[in-house]
């Protein structure tokens, strides 16, 4: 025992602090490198398509649009950039939602899909597509988005309501989330059964997940959801990190765990609802992204949050490129690819990880 009082350290060697600061620098470099890789992937995504362009042309079209041909200008700015940006925004949204749900429920398998939030959003979207029914008094694209959002919120509130019951463990909450998923999937199946051939086709295509219908307006709205929620997550960075030590320790640190769960689950609902509403069902990004982030930088939310967002964005952006290049001339639904790539990757991550992150 060296120190016995609470007086400030006067002649302490800064070795421990120095090592911590070095770890922090390493984490920041990793975040910067992932951000750079995401930017490169974005450019490659824009360059890839039926007519491939050189990266230099893409750069020029982005930085000096007036100096490139009208065709290239239109392809880059009106067609490919919204799609490529949508991949980034949706990837980041799903990964942040997954990361926070894993934190809030202390479960590695928690994400918007496994907990039924996406299924609820899908059911909301199906109500709009099949029945033209709107939960909110809105029309057009917002009808589908509004439905998806309200239903996702409803599912989140159900999960949160369960968390308030005494004796309900986070494991029970996850199981209830799975029950919610089956419930909304059953309702979705019912709508599919009564849907017309045209709306069924639309619904099936929508549920496979696709970025191809991205527009500047949709990117803006999905981006807005990110911009609204990220500051809330940043403000709650310490309480969220404390939650990983368990509810009792978090409460001992003065954190109102119930209120924190509600606020953060609503933010997760907003992110997943907007993502699902605009691009359909895209699974595994919300699971794999946070897991990679956790392995790279740990769970201090100051680095875990940006790293999760970036890994999610990078994964979906790379998948978007793959969806255009895997079978030349055919655009594969991105949701199928994320599932095909994500599942074995997820399993190998668990098997290859030498650390037992979750009990």
């Amino acid at each position: 025992m060296k120190a016995t009082t609470f007086s400030p350290v006067t002649a302490a060697s800064d070795t421990t602090v120095g090592r911590y600061l070095a770890r922090q620098r390493r984490q920041r470099w990793l975040i910067a490198a992932t951000a750079l890789a995401t930017l490169l992937s974005l450019l490659l995504d824009i360059a890839t398509g039926p007519g491939a362009y050189a990266l230099s042309d893409v750069m020029q079209a982005l930085l000096a649009p007036s100096e490139v041909s009208r065709v290239l200008q239109v392809v880059v700015w009106d067609i490919r950039l919204p799609v490529a940006l949508m991949a980034i925004v949706v990837g980041a949204s799903l990964a942040i939602a997954g990361a926070q749900m894993q934190t809030l429920l202390n479960n590695p398998l928690a994400d918007p899909f496994t907990l039924g939030i996406s299924s609820a959003a899908s059911f909301g979207a199906a109500l709009a597509i099949v029945l033209g029914f709107g939960v909110l008094p809105v029309a057009g694209t917002l009808l589908l988005t509004g439905n998806a959002f309200v239903l996702a919120m409803l599912a989140s509130l159900m999960i949160w309501g369960l968390s308030r019951l005494r004796g309900v463990s986070v494991q029970t909450m996850v199981l209830m989330g799975i029950a919610i998923m089956f419930f909304f999937n059953a309702l979705l199946g019912m709508l599919q059964y009564v849907a017309s051939a045209e709306s069924l086709q639309q619904l099936v295509f929508w549920s496979l997940g696709s970025l191809s219908k991205a527009s500047w307006g949709k990117v803006g709205l999905a981006g807005l959801a990110l911009m609204v929620t990220i500051p809330i997550f940043i403000r709650a960075r310490w309480p969220l990190t404390a939650l990983r030590l368990g509810d009792v320790q978090a409460k001992a640190m003065g954190i109102d765990v119930g209120r924190l769960r509600l606020r953060m689950l609503l933010c997760c609902a907003l992110l997943s609802a907007t993502a699902v509403a605009f691009v359909g069902t895209i699974g595994f990004v919300g699971l794999v992204g946070p897991h990679i982030a956790r392995l790279l930088v740990g769970e201090d939310q100051r680095v875990f949050l940006p790293m999760s967002a970036l890994t999610g964005a990078l994964i979906l952006s790379l998948t978007s490129i793959l969806s255009k290049t895997l079978i030349p001339g055919i655009l594969l639904p991105i949701g199928i690819l994320t599932a095909l790539i994500g599942l074995p990757f997820f399993v190998s991550l668990i098997l290859r990880s030498r650390r037992e992150i979750w009990r």
């Binding site: 025992m1 120190a3 016995t4 421990t16 602090v17 309480p239 368990g246 320790q249 003065g254 740990g298």
Partner: protein
């Protein structure tokens, strides 16, 4: 700054756990050991003081009612260290202690880092600073949890079985440190503890509760008698009272063996 407890009731769901606890006082600069059999309500009492479990009654710290404070305000003055500190969080030891500090005070980075370094040094945890919590043994994690508590510099520190996972060397080291912490900084320390010999050696005062009721409180000499031990734990015990040392308790037999 004194902690006073009067007419304290606490229920978990429909089950009443604490019944009218009254007349309990903990003084600054002293260690109070909270003893009693399993299920007596020791952890619940500490959680009720910390504001983690809802309770009714009077809890005052330095004459001010604690129930008037929000959980956040309360935990700026006091800290509860739970018995179970197991976690699989991908956080380094340094990050975990920094977290405990950052959830309490808003201060410059330098001040926070210094406080963390000091807390780690206090418990000789600096060699483990970069290790992840999930990679630590139970005892190491318990010491990290104590370092988290120390980094917050509370006026009232409550520790629930803080030595349960520690080897003998670290048990003595940690309790010796807590004793000096109480003496030198005027901190009120309350320990829930099962080891009566450690309680006799390090505590200035004992609170005994059984089935949620306050049985007796006093100095170890007053409380730890064979008659009281029979009443509290249903055991026969030999209590040795050396002239120049702490009491030594040797449990001899249970008065009610299992199955009888």
């Amino acid at each position: 700054m004194t902690l006073r407890i009067d007419q304290l009731h606490c229920a978990l769901g429909k089950r009443r756990v604490l019944h009218d606890l009254a007349g309990l006082e903990a003084q600054p600069g002293e260690i109070t050991a909270l003893i009693g059999p399993n299920g007596a309500g020791k952890s619940t009492l500490l959680k009720a003081i910390a504001g983690i479990e809802a309770s009714s009654g009077h809890l005052t710290l330095d004459g001010r009612p604690l129930e008037m404070l929000s959980l956040e305000q309360r935990t700026r003055k006091l800290y509860y260290l739970p018995q179970d500190t197991s976690t699989q969080a991908a956080l380094s030891v340094f990050e975990a202690v920094l977290l405990a500090r950052r959830t309490q005070v808003v201060e410059s980075n330098g001040t926070a880092l210094t406080a963390v370094e000091q807390a780690l040094q206090s418990l000789e945890l600096d060699p483990l600073a970069e290790r992840e919590l999930a990679a630590l043994s139970g005892g190491q994690r318990q010491r990290v949890a104590i370092a988290q508590a120390i980094a917050r510099r509370p006026r009232l520190l409550m520790l629930d079985e803080p030595t349960s996972a520690l080897d003998l060397h670290h048990q003595l080291q940690v309790l010796d440190y807590l004793q000096r912490l109480a003496r030198q900084n005027g901190v009120i320390i309350i320990l829930a503890i099962h080891d009566l010999n450690l309680a006799a050696r390090f505590a200035d005062h004992l609170w005994v509760i059984k089935e949620g009721r306050h049985i007796i409180s006093g100095t170890p000499d007053e409380v730890l008698t064979p008659e009281r031990l029979r009443e509290i734990y249903a055991i026969e015990a030999h209590v040795e009272r050396p002239v120049d040392g702490p009491l030594h308790i040797t449990p001899l037999s249970a008065t009610r063996p299992l199955g009888c």
